[in-house]
Amino acid sequence: MSKPVLRVQDLAVTFTSFTGGLLQRQERQLRAVDGISFELYAGETLGIVGESGSGKSTLARAILGLITPNRGRVIWRGEELTGLEEEELRQKRKELQIVFQDPVASLDPRMTAGDIIAEPLWTFYPNMARLQVEERTRGMMKVVGLLPNQINRYPHEFSGGQCQRIGIARSLVLNPRLLVCDEPVSALDVSIQAQIINLLQDLQKKLGLALIFIAHDLSVVRHISDRVMVMYMGQAMEVSEKSRLYRRPLHPYTNALMKSVPIPDPRLAAAARQDSWLTGDMPSPYDRPKGCIFHNRCPYRVKRCEADVPALRRMENGDWVACHRAEELDLSIE
């Protein structure tokens, strides 16, 4: 296989907050991203799945340099991004773009669709001819399934799904090589979600993009991903090839996430409910469990899990898992 375009090594982001008022000020550390490593190839899609607070958005921002990581390296096509000067990093962002979750809130309501899509061009190529910018903007609108004659409309004149198409057009207008989509469909209706997922999948094939697709739900990333990373409290629990992950998850947390997806079929749903759900909530990020970070909610925990932190390790088939019991557990989905 060729060389990966993106290499993330032991990336960590810690937020510091203060409690206790003026006199008894105490510093608290929140480890939002805690040592994440992975590689991504051109034309590949990595799905990143986790519940709120698992650190997936922080990870995305740290990869793009929108947040400065406390530790670790991000290597983009052989060049280390972490530690670059602001201006150098800005130039690199032509190649690395992001699509945000809330399509309506992330567009400036006072700009037309055309201006929103063209803004990156004005920023990076201030000398580009007006006509050329407009041509490129209209072309981009067509690519994402918008009508070029809607170029002078404002965001409120578009539906949620159309606004997300505007967001995608804007992020693609500079011809990036990596697109990070941070929950691009979570705010959309079910019937529209599939439109956007299919659009992203088509665009990726056409443009040969490397894609990182973040979601809180395993069912959403399934169609688009080649590999899936499951995150929990800032750590990777499992990174597996898609078909294997959905057939036989390696980590009990992956299994729990899969069981939580409701099945739109009354009889199957009744049968599936025989399995018990995951109990409890995610622990406080300020009070992280010792040993395996997931052990207090894990139905398969043993003594060892309470004391030893399982490392993310490579299995024979090339998948990665952070569980002491990965070999002996059979979590196959029938």
């Binding site: 519940e51 209706d189 079910v190 019937s191 959905y246 409701p262 009354p266 749903a269």
Partner: protein
């Protein structure tokens, strides 16, 4: 059997600067005692405004017409004081966002006991004992201790459990849950869905579940109403809707749910186009711009089909075993 709640020809309108928004159009439905009815639809379908209208909770620029008979008395024509005697006591409601539905300045105890002391005139210690019992019923561990805490000391899932407990305090005959699990994480969502299903089994209470996600109600509902652009496009039992969907919108909605129990390599089915603008609804069938089976005749208003068990569909496609209950034109003229 008389219905617990019978809604007829209910319309909700909002006056806005851009014009009149027709949020709910001619809704008719009933809910029986002990029955769980799911109202499913995407954003803007009118499902929340429908229930808010007969609970007297519409925004100021909203107006409602029609009839909503609760045990024979019309909720839409009640004085505020009368309605206050019903809300919380006989009909309770749980909202989507448990973060903003609780008062952050009051303990859980205060927020829970207020309801029963007001409605049932219980003494303080009685009210407290009752509240603790309810927290236990919604599986909050250590309720005697936790009732003294403030909402911020609870996680999202626990707060929604508290909301459900508050809803159940007066043992209402009808509980309305508006997207009770939508704002929660998937693993917690599953817990809340399970809890709702258990409560449903254990009590004789009727339940209206509002959701945008058909999958959530597969197991939890007896009957389903599918709404689109302010109208019921299809009504039926859970099995009818899931195994014999009639309306093209219902079929599209079912097909667009990403599923883990099916092969993944085929493309996801999307419904093309976008939901209609409620200020300017297309004539005839509101779904026709997005419908794969639309023909010329869909420019006219489709008929309402009615079959056994109150199953309905509003479409030109004939319904098996059904009869036309109302021609599209009749309704059009009546409006």
């Amino acid at each position: 059997m008389t219905a617990l709640l019978k809604v007829s020809n209910l319309d909700v309108r909002f006056d806005t600067r851009e014009g009149v928004v027709k949020a709910v159009n001619g809704m008719d439905f009933e809910i029986q005692e002990g029955e769980t009815l799911a109202i499913v639809g995407e954003s803007g379908a009118g499902k929340s405004q429908l229930v808010l209208s007969f609970m007297g909770l519409l925004a100021e620029n909203g107006s409602v017409s029609g009839e909503a008979l609760f045990r024979g008395r019309d909720l839409l024509r009640m004085k505020p004081k009368e309605l206050n005697g019903i809300r919380g006591r006989h009909i309770a409601m749980i909202f989507q966002d448990p973060m903003t539905s609780l008062n952050p300045f009051l303990t859980i105890e205060k927020q829970m006991t207020e309801v029963v002391r007001h409605h049932q005139g219980l003494r303080k210690d009685e009210a407290r004992a009752h509240a603790v019992e309810m927290l236990r019923a919604v599986r909050i561990p250590d309720p005697e201790e936790r009732i003294r805490q403030y909402p911020h000391e609870y996680s999202g899932g626990m707060r929604q459990r508290v909301m459900i407990a508050i809803g159940l305090l007066c043992e209402p005959e009808l509980l309305i849950a508006d997207e009770p699990s939508t704002a929660l994480d998937v693993t917690v969502q599953a817990q809340i869905t399970e809890l709702m299903a258990e409560i449903r089994k254990e009590t004789r209470m009727s339940l209206i579940l509002i959701t945008h996600d058909l999958a959530v109600v597969a197991e939890a509902a007896d009957r389903i109403i599918v709404m689109y652009a302010g109208e019921a496009v299809e009504t039926g039992s859970v099995d009818d809707i899931f195994y014999r969907p009639q309306h093209p919108y219902t079929r599209g909605l079912l097909a667009s749910v990403p599923r883990l129990d099916r092969a993944s390599d085929d493309e996801l089915q999307a419904i093309p186009g976008n939901p209609p603008n409620l200020l300017d609804l297309p004539s005839g069938c509101h779904f026709r711009d997005r419908c794969s089976e639309a023909t010329e005749q869909c420019r006219e208003r489709p008929p309402l089909w009615l079959a056994e068990g109150g199953r309905t569909s509003r479409c030109f496609l004939p319904m098996e075993g059904g009869e036309i209950a109302a021609r599209g034109n009749d309704v059009e003229e009546a409006q």
